[in-house]
Amino acid sequence: MPDIYDGVRQSCQQSWLELPRRAPNEVHFVISDSEDLDRLCAWAKQQNYYLCTMVTNDERALEDHVFKLYYVFSAPQGDLVILEHLLNDPKHLEQYPSIREVFPSVEGLELEAYDMIGLSPLDYPIPHGFVLHEPYPPDLYPLRPRRSPKVLIEERIEKHIKPPSPPLPQLPDGMFFLPVGPIHAGIIEAGHFRFHVAGEVIENLDIRLGYKHRGIEKLFQAQYTVEKGWELAEKVSGDSSFAHAMAYCQAAEALAGIESLPQSALYWRGLFLELERIYNHINDVGALVHDMTFDLVASEIAVLREKMMRLNQHLTGHRLLRGVNRPGGIVLKRVPDWEALQTEVVDITGEFLRLGELIMKMPACRDRAFTTGVMTGQQVKKFGATGLAARAACGASDILGTALADELRQHDFRLKHPQGVYKLHTKLCDEIRATIVTENTKPSASFRRVQVFQKDLQGDVFARLALRVAEVETSSRIIQRLASRMKKFAASELALIEPDIFTQALRKTPNFEFGIGYVEGWRGDIFYWLMKGPGNTIFRCKVRDPSLFNWPALRLATIRKPKLETNDKTQSQDYWENILADFPLINKSFNLSYAGHDL
């Protein structure tokens, strides 16, 4: 299999530069020519690379005096590839060569960057208003440091006169709009959906988010030091509090060059991450079942979820596992009774799996969930969907048996880029691999309670439901393994390395270095890109929640689309269709974060 060096040699005709690796699996190239970058990205797409994030950074005050662009890719071989590109073309200092044709998932990042920092693609115009809506002047660009004082920004916002809303587009006869939101008829977050419907069939869907934009990336710059940033990170998205804080802390540790944490800290992080996965999966399965009007089971599942939350409270003092992560380790007030913890988790998940099996066999559920909200394998690849949504399409009939299907099945950062406890114990990775039963699965995995076969994961609501149930079992088994090993740690052994050590290590780090942190949260991979400024301040912190990539996927799963993508217009086509009543199910099966998307 060709690696990135082959790709760079093949694609780059102009000069390129490899910078020293900060971590064993991080490769960092500076690509100066935009055409080289294009070719390299096209090559990467062919090799099933996955775009992790695009960071736009205002480095005009630094030594290069330009805006810079960092693309981060995840390679199937386990490397993280960072491509750095300087926007030093004097004619286009604030424009960059877009890779959207090759990686359409970059769209959200591009739109966000245009609002926040004012950089736009060279090749085509893009609109303002992705996260900064009408109340903001279009050229506010809050992430440009020279306009940092809050008073200045607010003055400009106050002066700005809100433009009238644009007129609605014309629809063909017989079709109509169904607007929903931004305030929804339930206890959920704010976002606007506009369905284009013909009868009951959803022909198209416009999603407008950004209502919950809280200026998190600016707050990181303006108010936080690298040591303290975890406080804000865990408030990016409430249900992924721990995963976000962990990704932030790992970025901070990578930045400070701390290579080894105390072993117990790694164990704790693994344990809490899996606890978070379990309570969210239980919650979402309950919500799905509630929408299928199977309320008896939904109530039982709600009780199980509450038990998980109380377990969290008991372990960490916070129901959402907040306040335990620090750069350098974990802070805990007490060490639990391991036997009790193990029994509790086994009891809760065992009961949940029993209910999960029941749901998966229930005809009413199968009737509603099969072929609803289908996302084909090719679409997942094309639009860069990630996390659970991507894994749930690994058995789609259009890709089954190809390398892409294997790639999607293992599209899990715990497997692709194992760190921490997943790196220490390969057994844990085996557990994760056994979640989805394939033809080659070893018989050792057969004593799992829930068996989900790869060929059944067709990217529909049922696939996501079944995968959630299976992942709860995996997480439960991982927790059993972790807990039985953690018994051996002495109770006095605090997992935190001395904060001084972290601060000292950070002080030795030159300014304007950056670190990368990534975590497979329950929705998918969470990515942090953290650059240090003078005096331990944060120069830039780019947060990328998996929801950013999965919202377009949700739209795609909802709208009417041909079952097979062909260019032959003469042939009559079969279509995947969803009706309005399917949307709550599709939405819940993804359960994406609005807050994590809007930042």
Binding site: P142, A185, A190, Y211, H213, R214, E231, V236, G238, L320
Partner: protein
Amino acid sequence: MRSQLTDKTITVWGLLRPRLLNLLKTLHSHGKLHTEKPPLPDLTAKRRSIFIRHLDCGSCNGCELELNALNNPIYDLERFGIQFEASPRHADVLVMTGPFTRNLEEAARLTFDAMSEPRRIVTIGDCAKDGGIFKDSYAVTTRPPEIEAVIQATNIHVAGCPPAPEEILKALVKLPPMSSA
């Protein structure tokens, strides 16, 4: 059905008995002077029946998770006569979470305007108090005076990030009856 009708236990007396008893009761009560008022049904629970509308003003979803937990069988909000509504037009109380972002300002105002009076606003979570850790962000703004006035008048805030469901529950149950507003 048929077997029941022909059952031996149904006799003429059996059919007549309840009617006779009723007749006797009526005669009895008519023949007597009411010396005391019949006891009123306990209305306190009914007067507390409150319809709530949730309004997210930019929270992190933590408060929503805990609000959702109120509906589970453990906290079971509806046993207190309190329930969440799908429309602000049906709601007595608005439950606000989050620091009040600029992008949601208009939608929040429209939601508030859609409520009929008397209305109340309960704020939940540290962000909803004063913006919390998002206080100094350019994206967070002050609430319109008419909303702020109702918040002040209601004067119920549940602190916490997010507050535990029992804290929210305690605050909601303590809400005075709407008629006194």
